[in-house]
Amino acid sequence: MYAYDEIDRTLVNERVSEFRDQVQRRLSGELTEDEFKMLRLQNGVYLQLHAYMFRVAIPYGTLATNQLRALAHVARKYDRGYGHFTTRQNIQFNWIKLSDLPDALADLAEVGIHAMQTSGNNMRNVTSDQWAGVAPGEIEDPRIWSELIRQHTTLHPEFSFLPRKFKIAITASDHDRAAIKVHDIGLRLIKNEKGETGFEVLVGGGLGRTPFIGKTIKHFVHGRDLLSYIEAILRVYNQYGRRDNIYKARIKILVHELGIEKFSREVEEEWQHLRNSSLQIDDEVIEDIRSRFIYPTYEKLPHMPDELRQAAADPEFEAWRKNSVAPHKVQGYSIVTISLKPIGAPPGDATADQMDALADLADKYSFGEIRVGHEQNLALPHVAKRDLPALWKALDKLGLATPNVNLITDIIACPGLDYCSLANARSIPIAQELTRRFANHELANLIGRLHINISGCINACGHHHVGHIGILGVEKNGEEVYQITIGGRADENAALGNLIGPGVKFDEVADVVEDIVEAYLALRERPEELFVETVKRLGVEPFKERVYATR
């Protein structure tokens, strides 16, 4: 938990009053929409099909309970009683009025939450592993560095009008839960042989119209040089990134067109000018930021408490525990993932009442802390194992104990044509139907880890390219048509999926996915072979045959 000081609070308040002035000038006609659009985007305000949409940042996915309650308050007071958690550790409200936005921002500012740069052609919310600071085996807490970057890139005077948006993600674990390879900059925290902290830096990853997996630009950048190195990348991009075509403006295209060698030489040259400047971070600065992250005082607890032993007799509890509870770095504690994917519901949505109730549970069971992951689920990062049975009962009452984390019904989906003005096809109803088809927990468990990602247009907000099964909605002759890929993944072995064949109609998508899954169950060598592994071993062909044989 990062605690804002007076300096951070002042900045957020100044930003709110600036935006209040901008909104007022827009409503009075002093600012045209053309002039205002960039200003509102830089504060997370989009225009969608039915209304404005307001995107609020949850930096590195960490929330305190008073912050979650403030989000619930905004949902209730200014919106329609719910919010949507996104793939980039943000929350979106879909029905907000422009005239209410300054007040909503002011309410959030009171608890240290903002919407700065959640949209626009600038540095977006810096994301990280939702298990940061609690995952066993993690090198160190990557959020210290995320916060450092967050501050450095907030209202940056040189990089607030980049060719296009810019996203950074950080992980400090072997297993990448932050999808760093599909970000403009991906940072993997590592130690050098002297035991000093640094980063492997990847650049040019991204999805959208032209997907790329990020490439390593430098194997080790020392922690003290992190800001100067990022600054060098941004400066090269700001000068040379394409501005003539919005679809070719991301850094991935620049890296691709120049080649990683030439690009890295440009960055290196720029970095030599910057590295010994005031951007160098001394240990004291790191310590200051670290000191404002508050960590729980854990108790010494047994590995296997009686409460847990007794609850094991309840098969429903056990199903949930096995699915949603993960090991914690401290003995006697667990990380609990809270599925926001109940059967038949829009992925990633939570009501204001659920948010409030979750805040209460986090206060009671998780040292007042909640996490948000890119899979559009939440987590309670510090739950004592003895409390798991009680927590499960409470979550179940709230509809938040669906034991489907990482299973086929744990679907990532963008808002699609139901909300989004960019979309060509609906995403949410496809996800809903799929969860109904695979609602049976034994079946989903039998299938094992399988990620379905759905996007309603080529912009790929639903990360379809890296779904084990990816579904992309397009429009063809006025109809919604869906293209299906298999074999993508977003983790440390990130890969782009391959198309299995011609697009299918809205009503056929769930049938096709069922066929793909049946083919997998028949083809896998052993139950432990994951869907993606079978696809990797056999390629697309056998799946294609199965799907199109009868169509």
Binding site: I7, L11, M38, N121, N238, S277
Partner: protein
């Protein structure tokens, strides 16, 4: 288009010349980069101050040999969304130590003043009269800055270090 200089609306003594406008006898002139580089010697010999209008897609390093002899560098924002001139401004101020007038031209609007000031601009050809009049008020919108730039404003990180050390004195 009002010019803001030194925080106030000011008269502009400079006349902008196109690539082929005949050179006036005296007076201060602003010349496009291409023309300046082509006729630099002649231009620098004439009376009156000289400034250069530098496009945002040309390497600013080309101008470095002349920086001591020119009075104004005018950088260009063809659209307020195009941020290349911010990098050029910082390079001029922070890498090449340019101390003359650094002017923002093109689509210069109120809501970018703070960014421009921080990047090193000190004069502004403002598109709208109302924005020019609101300059001083707008420039004071922020008191906290996270990044070190050449404008010398203290950053949040350093302010925290100072606070830490001053708190530490008594203990």
């Amino acid at each position: 288009m009002p010019l803001v200089n030194g925080g106030k609306i000011a008269d502009d003594s400079f006349v902008k010349l196109a690539v082929d406008t005949p050179l006036p006898e005296g007076g201060d002139i602003l010349v496009p980069a291409e023309r300046f580089l082509g006729e630099a010697e002649a231009l620098l010999k004439r009376g009156g101050k000289i400034g250069v209008i530098w496009p945002n897609n040309r390497d600013i390093a080309e101008l470095v040999p002349y920086l001591g002899k020119i009075a104004v560098v005018a950088l260009v924002f063809p659209s307020f969304r195009d941020g290349r001139a911010y990098s050029q401004a910082r390079l001029l101020r922070e890498r090449y130590n340019y101390r003359g007038e650094l002017r923002a031209t093109g689509q210069v609007l109120r809501d970018q003043f703070v960014f421009m000031l921080r990047a090193g601009f000190d004069s502004f050809e403002v598109k709208k009269q109302a924005d020019a009049e609101a300059f001083m008020q707008t420039a004071k919108r922020y008191s906290v800055f996270y990044q070190p730039t050449g404008d010398g404003r203290i950053t949040a990180l350093h302010r925290r270090m100072q606070l830490r050390h001053s708190e530490g004195v008594g203990t």
